[in-house]
Symmetry: C2
Subunit: 362 residues, 2 copies
């Protein structure tokens, strides 16, 4: 087998090795077709079968209620920062309410300003986004078009453990960095969206889960290929879809199912992150970024006593076959992204390495 490192990249991120091997094995000739899956029409039944199966698997894995649609759209989660207001702002008060827990929420709110009024009901800025502030749901205007939050904050390693009850206001969630890693009750949400490149596959495409009554409210200036209703009507193929992205996602979903589904992914995520937080909690050397009460199970973030130790840590961990541990420029320090595909052994190796690094440099 090819040399494969433990890849802690924040996204695009590592995929399950069996999935990667399957893609490689059938890359030149998909199911005896004599052509690759990337070389055939997205309108052929052989691809439609993959698309349909991907949707069914996602529904099964998430226990998705029947009144929700599943769409696959171009451009990743950041495109949805525009797409959500374009499609939802035209309801009630033309107002988007934002709960800000970090960089992605900030960008989402900024983008929504183009299409209506926005209000920031909560902002973790005063905590440097190391924790999720208390949110008083009574401050939410029930005439607001939607309320938006980010479920997991990749940069800081924080997450919402439970989600606020927004009443009649549809809750829109960017779940890019923790989708399928935790059980979620989708009926709490109006929209959930996620870029593929962390827990669902490769970059370029996003999944959108939307309650059906929220379709059909797009602003007139909505570009055709950013309109939820059109994607729903054409089963995500109003134009040429990212065929390879959907194909990879389908294999990832099959892998998740074979490995016990979301409940097992959640247990594994808690075990893996717990192992790293345990190192941080028993250390006077590393300094955890996230507040203990709001820790992510997907991204574990920490600083060093001196900044120069970071480079040493990165070089030495890289030599030990652990890749991609540099933190986001805005936060600094190190970050271990441990999405579903990261095996327990990778995290064990990192935990040992961290302890040894502390012993030598502490």
């Amino acid at each position: 087998m090819a040399n494969r490192v433990y890849n802690f990249s924040a996204g695009p991120a590592m995929l399950p090795t069996p999935v990667m091997q399957k893609i490689q094995a059938e890359f030149l000739d998909y199911q005896g077709l004599g052509a690759s899956i990337v070389e055939i029409s997205h309108r052929l039944p052989i691809f439609r079968k993959i698309l349909d199966s991907a949707e069914s698997l996602f529904r099964e894995l998430t226990n998705l209620p029947n009144n929700y649609r599943v769409l696959f759209m171009h451009g990743g989660a950041q495109m949805q920062f525009s797409v959500v207001p374009l499609n939802l702002m035209n309801r009630n008060k033309h107002k988007g309410s934002y709960l800000i827990t970090g960089r992605w929420g900030i960008l989402a709110e900024k983008e929504a300003q183009r299409y209506g009024n926005t209000e920031i009901l909560m902002d973790g800025k005063e905590y440097e986004y190391r924790q999720i502030p208390e949110f008083d749901t009574s401050t939410l205007d029930q005439e607001s078009s939607y309320a938006h939050l980010t479920t997991n904050n990749t940069l800081y390693g924080t997450r919402w453990h439970s989600f606020p009850d927004t009443g009649s206001v549809p809750l829109a969630a960017d779940a890019t960095s923790d989708i399928l890693s935790r059980e979620m009750d989708y009926s709490q949400f109006g929209i959930v969206y996620a870029g593929f490149q962390k827990n669902l596959g490769i970059s370029g495409t996003a999944i959108v889960i939307i309650r059906e009554d929220l379709l059909g409210h797009a602003l007139p200036e909505t570009p055709k290929l950013l309109n939820y209703a059109l994607f729903d009507e054409h089963h995500s193929i109003p134009n040429t879809i990212n065929v390879f992205g959907v194909y990879v996602m389908h294999l990832v979903l099959e892998w998740v199912k074979e490995h016990g589904g979301v409940p097992e992914m959640e247990k594994l995520a808690e075990k893996k992150s717990g192992m790293l937080y345990d190192v941080l909690d028993h250390s006077d050397f590393y300094k955890a970024v996230a507040h203990p009460e709001h820790r992510s199970t997907m991204n574990v973030t920490f600083h060093f006593p001196e900044e120069k130790l970071l480079q040493k840590f990165l070089t030495e961990s890289d030599n030990e076959g652990m890749f991609g541990l540099m933190g986001h420029a805005q936060v600094g320090g190190a970050r271990a992204s441990i999405y579903n595909a990261m095996p327990l052994e990778g995290v064990e190796a990192l935990a040992s390495f961290m302890k040894e690094f502390e012993r030598k440099n502490g």
Copy 2:
């Protein structure tokens, strides 16, 4: 080597076999990194090198003038039907002028209506799009924001052999189905765009070549990730790019260069298409769709004396290892798409098969 058919799909379409083999070989471990190219950050120098090299190669292959920028954007060519007016309509008279030579032009004009006035200066409808009508350039308002055309019409197998002089009005061209298959003087155009999935790689992304003075005119409602100026400023990575799509395109561009560049691609295209048109021209059986004066070198389209012969043709050609010959639903009949990656042998095989099929069924 894996079983590989001659794949005449209209797009997504076949890629050069050596490119496919290289992708397969390094899929699990890119250049000793221990991770796949799809599993690493789009911000890493190792990916940036690919992106920069892709741009340089494209510039070299097209002799692109220095005052043009090269952008890679989400969503394929149809997304550009919205993106062009969003970025250009806000100039002069807020008017987009359209030269319609088929389905894609129709859809482009319709989409532009959201963002300003449009006018159709020419429409091949009366010819059922079998030919490109004469265009009187004096009918073009020189205060128009832009003039739009489709260089090659995949459905009907027609193309513009030369392009109209639009004077001071920037000419915007959808070149999805013939980019890099013919020498083009880019200085005639304000914008040229193309989805990747025919001559550039796989579906999901588009290339945009834009004259630099046309940047910075976006309408205020332009979604951030559809703004040309932002993609220019961030060198096509304002957010997570379709890493695999760019990587594949880079390999395709290298392959084009190794095989003599655009002049050789053009010669080969003329030879391949000539071989098929020769069969059509010497037949009382097949009926060519495209007018002889406006024939495409990329898509060769034809009908049968009776519609039921089409299914027979498709089944028998498929049995002979020739795949994807069904015409577009809107035109009917058969279509052989023979993009750069289609080897001469594939077209020779098809030409022989067509003659034999005529002999047996004529």
